[in-house]
């Protein structure tokens, strides 16, 4: 099966800054792919190169098998991109913008009008079809950008931080909408800093850091490979943890809550030893909870902190 997007040794420099240093991976057709990484990792740069908005210095890139340079028309026809920035054309209304965008992709007529109506309905923009973009809230502008990216029915859709600065309700709606697109057969590429979002939606994940791929796996493998689990203990009384036990503490709850979270290696550390140690330290055990690693834990492990 051809990959939806095939990235082959792509590098990009901005002056002395190596934004991408030889990145290679494939995004399988039909996948819901999470592209994760801290600020400045190179996610948007990579997306811009796929979309032809930025030139790569070296490497090759194909969308549904079409080279993004030598077969740019087919590559772009297969791709819908929701940019990270809330950009818009101040001259036109939402509906005019959508018709223009469809026209750029060679589409017009009754079919397009039907699809535009459907998009406006799905994204809850029907009441705003004659509004100028300037007059819309940030969340609405984001939805218009999504409609614009989908107006030519591309099989591959890339969303660059669609849920940044978006309220809970709209975030839920966008999750629902992207899931629906995925179920209808679209390949979805999503970047986000909300790791629980990637965990909930994506089936395959790449972690980018400093222009390098740090990890590339199915989500389940990635989570399973994480060698730790977490034990959260509620204590009361006063005590002093021993040195080795203190080293296993991953976080403390709020001051006075008595909550302590330990990060235990699945093979090396044993829960029994931890509980004994806590008792020996002088605490009373009030409650114990286990937690499996989340994508966030994996992420922190791999990038050393910033999400």
């Amino acid at each position: 099966m051809t990959a939806a997007i095939d990235i082959d040794a792509v590098s990009k420099r901005y002056g002395s800054l190596q934004a991408l240093g030889g990145v290679s991976f494939e995004i399988p057709a039909g996948s819901f792919f999470g592209l994760l990484g801290p600020n400045g990792a190179g996610k948007s740069t990579l997306i811009s190169i796929i979309a032809g908005l930025v030139r790569k210095d070296a490497g090759a890139m194909r969308v549904m098998g079409h080279d993004t340079v030598s077969a740019y028309r087919q590559a772009r026809q297969n791709l819908g991109v929701v940019p990270q920035e809330l950009v818009y054309d101040p001259f036109f209304t939402i509906e005019e913008m959508l018709h223009i965008q469809a026209g750029y992709f060679g589409q017009r007529g009754a079919d397009v009008q039907g699809w535009i109506n459907e998009l406006l309905r799905a994204l809850d923009l029907e009441g705003k079809r004659d509004a100028k973009l300037r007059a819309l809230s940030g969340g609405m502008k984001r939805r218009v950008l999504i409609a614009q990216a989908l107006v030519h029915k591309p099989p591959v859709v890339i969303l660059d931080e669609p849920t940044a600065g978006v309220d809970v309700e709209l975030r839920r709606a966008l999750w629902h909408f992207t899931r629906r697109l995925h179920n209808e057969g679209h390949t979805i590429v999503l970047t986000t800093h909300y790791l629980e979002e990637a965990e909930a939606l994506c089936d395959r994940i790449a972690i980018l850091d400093h222009g390098q791929v740090r990890a590339l796996e199915d989500k389940s493998t990635m989570l399973g490979r994480h060698p730790y689990r977490f034990v959260r203990i509620k204590t009361s009384g006063q005590g002093q943890l021993s040195g080795p036990l203190e080293a296993l503490v991953s976080s403390h709850g709020e001051a006075g809550s008595g909550d302590i979270e330990f990060r235990l290696h699945k093979d090396k550390d044993r829960i029994g030893d931890v509980l004994d140690g806590v008792r020996e330290a002088g605490f009373r055990l009030e409650d114990i909870r286990m937690r499996e690693p989340s994508l966030e834990d994996v992420f922190v492990e791999m990038t050393g902190g910033e999400a």
Binding site: Y14, A51, G52, L53, V54, R55, Y72, R73, Q74, R76, Q77, L79, V81, P83, E85, V87, Y88, D89, P90, F91, F92, M97, I100, Q101, G103, Y104, F105, G106, Q107, R108, Q148
Partner: protein, 253 residues
């Protein structure tokens, strides 16, 4: 070729200036009419022009071409700069359009704006003095070539400019003086020899002079020369513009 895409972009660029027609058409027409009233009155009978051609009649084609020059330039340059600064240029850059389709759509829309301003001015000019056209084909060719030149030049400026001040500077220090000093208000034969000679190196002079030839059948330079110079200049600026688009300079960094 993406014909629908090209037509869409062309129509979009036309609608862009038609939505603010007061700024893009009416206002330049009014400015030119003011020139016509003031200079036409002040210089009436003083400036020696072609035989049988009143100064007012001489002035109108010059003002028409000056408007074409300024408005064609303004249309492409402001559109490109604005969408680049706003960021909405990405919608166009994401589309499966070739650089030539993009170039041609922008230039054609600007040519239409130039032609619209010129036609309005021509119509208003009739109120002052009737102005028959001696060589319509030559006139249309000059109008198209000149307007396309300035549209391409405007696109280049729009690509290079990082902010609107850059465009304003280009317009004020380059386009304005060159179009003013190209024989809008006088025949270069009335200039001292040195300045008259210098005018022959100014492509804007040929635009205005060749355009005037279309009206009167006489002008300072031969018609074929004007067509050739302006046509050549169009090839040059189009080549530069397409080259910039091809390298993606400042648009696809």
């Amino acid at each position: 070729m993406n014909r629908v895409g090209f037509v869409t972009l062309l129509r979009k660029e036309i609608r862009r200036f038609m939505k603010v027609v007061g700024q893009t058409v009416t206002s330049p027409v009014i400015t030119s009419v003011l020139y016509l009233v003031v200079f036409g009155q002040v210089l009436k009978g003083r400036v020696e022009v072609y035989e049988g051609v009143s100064y007012l009649a001489f002035l109108i084609p010059g003002l028409m071409m000056m408007s074409v020059i300024q408005n064609s330039f303004a249309n492409t340059s402001s559109s490109v700069t604005q969408s680049k600064i706003n960021g909405n240029l990405v919608f166009l850059l994401l589309a499966p359009l070739s650089i030539f389709e993009i170039f041609a759509a922008f230039v054609l829309a600007a040519v239409l704006r130039g032609a619209l301003v010129a036609s309005c001015l021509y119509a208003v000019g009739w109120l002052f003095v009737p102005l028959p056209i001696a060589q319509p084909l030559h006139l249309l060719a000059m109008l198209f070539l000149s307007s396309a030149c300035l549209a391409a030049l405007g696109m280049i400026a729009g690509i290079l400019a990082d902010k609107f001040e850059h465009l304003a500077a280009f317009q004020n220090y380059f386009i304005m003086p060159f179009s003013f000093l190209s024989g809008v208000f006088y025949s270069i034969h009335s200039l001292p020899e040195f300045w008259a000679g210098l005018s022959h190196f100014n492509p804007f002079f040929y635009m205005i002079d060749g355009f005037r030839l279309g009206f009167f059948g006489v002008a300072d330079a031969p018609g074929a020369l004007s067509l050739g110079v302006v046509g050549g200049f169009l090839m040059l600026v189009s080549g530069i513009c397409l080259g910039l688009l091809h390298t993606g300079y400042k648009l696809r960094p």
